[in-house]
Point group: C2
Chain length 253, copies 2
DNA sequence: CCGACAATATGTCGGACTAATTATTGCCGC
DNA sequence: GCGGCAATAATTAGTCCGACATATTGTCGG
């Protein structure tokens, strides 16, 4: 025992936890750092669902921040469905089923450590469902501006490779433009989250080995089908694109 | 001056806005009420994207709450991507493309007033994409426990009708059980949000006219296909179910 | 077994001070 | 005199502190 189990969320006794250790000093605000700290702790399972967080005063002091800042951080977690707090009962971690997995921040936390393999599988499964249908809608509804945006992004992807940050940004732009062309706000929101998460995995692929396949032809196929207004072809092309991405990611992990 | 345009988010001058007017007095906490107030104001378009919120001190005073409570409410909005605040620049409403439309609370805010017709269309479009594929996965992966849960929910739906709250709860249970059977956490999170939103629309259907069609046979068809493990049939059955729901909702609005 | 009460942790409040960023102003160089 | 640049001032969110209010929960007593 040594201590029942309520040894606080902050390690040991001595000094406070080093918040925002590396990422460009004080980029995000203080409460953002606390939210990140607690968020990763929960998503990674270090604080299991159903468990109780240490009292505000104690935990805030352990993290060496004011109670206000700590509370605002907890509000963020509450807004994302990770925790729930009630007077006297304290703040408890909610079951995974109530987490907003689609939330960009939650996804980021999930990928900040060692990404859970099952979760990556789930994510690609969702992608395989949503993105081909998004491409289908885009093919039906795109206008000249959409085509231009996608064309530009594709050109940038060709110029820089996916090995560079600029190339990956162009990749995101391409998918973004495609989503915009669907004219569906929910699809935009959804795939924006997924796209960001997928980007984390791209780094893994990059790190593991030189990218095993040039994704450009696949993107071009999707683009051509959308320009032609061929919904079926666009869907099919996007499907193979996602499948290949899954294949690459799987082999890299 | 009278007031250039900075007449705050809270109406007029005189007295404060009536927060949490009807909903069971002080059910949700005070900051929850503020978040709801600001959230609906933004989602409904009363505060357009790009617009600046009144300063914290002024707005908090106008709402007759402490700055702490007001700030915690703003944190919630920030966590959901509705606003962004920087020192000196103030708090600005972000463009719709950055909102977390899938967030349950945002959906609730979107449906708390007059639901935007285009948004409902987007929602059903997403549903038409996701749910049939979810049914497909459920048919492939369901086990006995899943089948039992769905069977029970179906029985409850049959006993009570969709006109009663118990019946609608059973409907949700059915869809929930189906989602659980997919074994995909992202699908569960996604459709949980959608399902809740769809439930708001059900009330509209109910209010407009007696439900024009008995949805039970459709549900039964989905159930049978999943029990049989027939993925294609399950997908097809779910597709018609969603199509009919859209039809009903459309005619009711 | 049920109702009143006390303990406790979150919720709210108010004010003060800090930090970051924009706008302004004045200086310097062209 | 004009245009760009740097120091400066004003403004607004961010953080901190300490106190009190409120709502639950667990317990004690009827």
């Amino acid at each position: 025992m040594a201590s029942k189990e309520e040894e606080a969320q902050a390690p040991a006794a001595g000094s406070a936890v080093q918040l925002t250790p590396s990422p460009k000093g004080s980029g995000r605000r203080l409460r953002g750092a606390v939210a990140h700290y607690l968020g990763t702790a929960i998503v990674s399972g270090r604080i299991a669902p159903g468990e109780r967080l240490t009292g505000e005063v104690a935990n805030a002091e352990a993290l060496d921040v004011s109670r206000s800042a700590y509370r605002e951080a907890v509000q963020v977690l509450t807004a994302k469905g990770l925790v729930e707090s009630r007077p006297k009962a304290g703040t408890r971690v909610l079951p995974r089923s109530r987490w907003n997995m689609l939330d960009p921040a939650v996804l980021a936390w999930a990928f900040s450590g060692e990404p859970d393999l099952d979760f990556v599988r789930d994510l690609f499964e969702l992608r395989a469902i949503v993105e081909p249908n998004a491409a289908r809608l885009a093919a039906e509804r795109r206008d000249k501006a959409d085509i231009k945006a996608m064309k530009d992004a594709l050109a940038k992807m060709r110029r820089h490779t996916l090995a560079t940050e600029a190339g990956r940004a162009a990749d995101r732009d391409f998918h973004d433009a495609l989503l915009q062309a669907t004219r569906n706000s929910t699809l935009i929101a959804l795939s924006a989250s997924i796209g960001a998460a997928v980007n984390w995995t791209t780094q893994f692929k990059q790190r593991a080995r030189a990218l095993p396949r040039d994704p450009l032809p696949d993107h071009a196929r999707v683009f051509d089908a959308i320009v032609a207004g061929d919904a079926d072809a666009a869907s099919q092309a996007m499907r193979t694109l996602v499948d290949l991405a899954l294949e690459d990611t799987r082999s890299a992990m």
